[in-house]
């Protein structure tokens, strides 16, 4: 069995091991976790011929540096306009390269994007929790956060020189500022004027942006009364509004229940590209009907499958 051993020479905060996540456990207080940008993560795996949920690494704006101690492994880097450097090469994300013993790969933020994904031609060894290696935010269970000095083992590591080269970056993987959503489920706690403000105003992303959620700045969209609604289930993409009128979009490591009213819920597909925005970027909401949301998602699925299929065949 061929192994590649990588040492984490540097790891910024919020750099974690992820796979497709662990859906189905919200009733036990466990959010699904998984990649912030699920589509880029899937493409990184697709280009290497991996199954869609193959474990990989999610890299934040904090960056990551890996030194290959032994063996060799081909890697795909997709998601965001990050920069990947080895001693003799400087590449953008959306590339496949091979890392060999003695070489160091440093990945850092580039001109755009907030999250990038590293997939391996081999099996990244990581702790599993409840059937998934995705890191669960609040508990740290699963694959976990990467830490400086840590060693990563890739079993069945393969060097695939014929796979090396650029990955086409689809336009829909670039930052998205217009978020399509359905109103509710607690839109009744907001008056018409506030709902109009919500769907017409320009919001701005704040620095409060992590795997749990993203707080927005903008006009107040306060609910009509100081409310205490019974805690109820939350979805990824829920836009919850605190009493002072501040909106937060909940993301991969969201809490499973909460008592703040949700003014709207963003389409899952739009979140993938939305999380590639950066603090101070604009965000706007467009209300659509549930039927339109379904039609859009089904069209997206066809488009995504065709693109993924081309990568797999290449």
């Amino acid at each position: 069995m061929t192994e590649a051993i990588l040492r984490v020479a540097f790891s910024g905060p919020h750099v974690t091991i992820q796979d497709a996540g662990r859906p189905g456990l919200m009733r036990y207080g466990v959010s699904a976790s998984g990649p912030m940008d699920r589509q880029s993560f899937k493409l990184a795996n697709a280009v290497l011929g991996n199954p869609p949920g193959h474990p990989g690494i999610e890299i934040s704006l904090g960056g990551l540096s890996l030194r290959c101690k032994s063996g060799a492994v081909t890697l795909a880097l997709a998601g965001g306009g990050f920069i990947a450097e080895t001693p003799d090469r400087k590449l953008g994300a959306w590339n496949v390269l091979t890392l060999r013993a003695g070489e160091t790969l440093t990945i850092r933020p580039g001109p755009w994007g907030s999250w990038s994904y590293l997939a391996f031609a081999g099996n990244l060894q990581a702790e599993s929790w409840l059937g998934s290696r995705a890191t669960h935010g609040s508990s740290g269970f699963g694959g976990g956060k990467l830490a400086m000095g840590q060693t990563l083992t890739i079993t069945n590591a393969q060097a695939l020189p014929n796979r090396e080269g650029p990955i086409p970056c689809p336009i829909w993987a670039r930052p998205r500022h217009l978020l399509r959503c359905t109103l509710g489920p607690q839109d009744r706690f907001f008056n018409t004027e506030t709902l109009n403000t919500f769907t017409s105003a320009r919001f701005e992303m704040s620095d409060a942006f992590d795997r749990m959620g993203l707080r927005l700045r903008g006009p107040s969209i306060a609910p009509t009364a100081a409310l205490s609604i019974p805690s109820e289930p939350i979805l990824r993409g829920s836009v919850q509004v605190s009493g002072d009128g501040t909106a937060t979009v909940l993301l991969s490591d969201h809490q499973t229940t909460g008592g703040y009213p949700k003014i709207a819920t963003v389409l899952a597909d739009d979140l993938d590209a939305f999380v590639q925005c950066r603090p101070r970027d604009a965000a706007m909401f467009q209300a659509i009907t549930p039927a339109q949301a379904i039609a859009i998602t089904r069209q997206n699925a066809i488009r995504f499958a065709a693109f993924e299929d081309r990568l797999r065949r290449a």
Binding site: R27, P185, P230, E232, A291, R298
Partner: protein
């Protein structure tokens, strides 16, 4: 239109979920209706079912957008409600061990003082409660138990305390919870339990199902240490 246990409101969410509301304020009838529908759904799933999440007065049902849609899911759920002749499932009875030693129960004295009781009376009141799992939330295995007796119901603290150990038994209002992680909390810490809610058993990773009845059994420090 206000939802009621007999006439729920179905709210479609985004491209992938329906929230079934049986009420807008806490109430036993609404919560029982949530549990009944959740149970009926477990027995009779629809094509494209992803997951259901029972909460206090509503049930979230998530589905695969490529396999089904809101109207189909709502029709299935309405069908389950109409066909429902089954009584609420017989809840399982779970036991949670608790040690009230002072160093494991840093807020026992404060709860006693604010309730006008002796610490021993607070303990007895806590042990006397009829608890049921209303829902999970906040973090893995955080099961919200309703049923704290009126005599020891307090508002949460003005600000949370950091670094509260896993296994702490905490109360606020009518709710009680056994923590599973080192976490901040603004609830009152009245004891420590060696009973694992995250069981590490892959076949049954969580001790409780929503709806389970729970009672606390007092143990000595020696028993607590032995059960650790």
């Amino acid at each position: 239109m206000q939802p009621t246990p007999n006439a729920p409101i179905f709210r479609p969410i985004a491209e992938r979920a329906v929230l079934v509301e049986f009420g807008t304020v806490l109430g036993q009838a609404a919560h029982q209706a949530v549990l009944r529908l959740d149970q009926a759904l477990a027995a009779q799933r629809f094509v494209g079912f992803r997951e259901s999440v029972p909460a206090l007065v509503n049930l979230l049902v998530e589905f695969d957008t490529l396999a089904t849609d809101h109207p189909t899911v709502i029709a299935h759920l309405r069908g389950l409600l109409t066909a429902q002749t089954i009584a609420c499932p017989q809840p399982a009875q779970r036991e949670v061990l608790i040690c009230y030693d002072t160093d494991l129960a840093p807020d026992l004295a404060a709860v006693a003082q604010q309730s006008g009781l002796t610490p021993e009376a607070v303990i007895n009141a806590h042990l006397f409660g009829n608890y049921a799992v209303f829902m999970y939330g906040f973090a893995p295995g955080y099961a919200y138990l309703g049923g704290v007796p009126k005599a020891i119901r307090l508002d949460r603290k003005p600000s949370p305390v950091r670094g509260v150990a896993a296994g702490s038994v905490i109360i606020a209002g009518a709710q009680c919870l056994i923590t599973t992680l080192l976490m901040p909390t603004g609830w009152w810490i009245i004891g420590r339990s060696p009973t694992a809610i995250l069981t590490r058993d892959p076949a049954r990773p969580f001790l409780f199902d929503v709806g389970d009845k729970v009672h606390f059994r007092r143990i000595s420090r020696a028993e607590y240490e032995a059960a650790q």
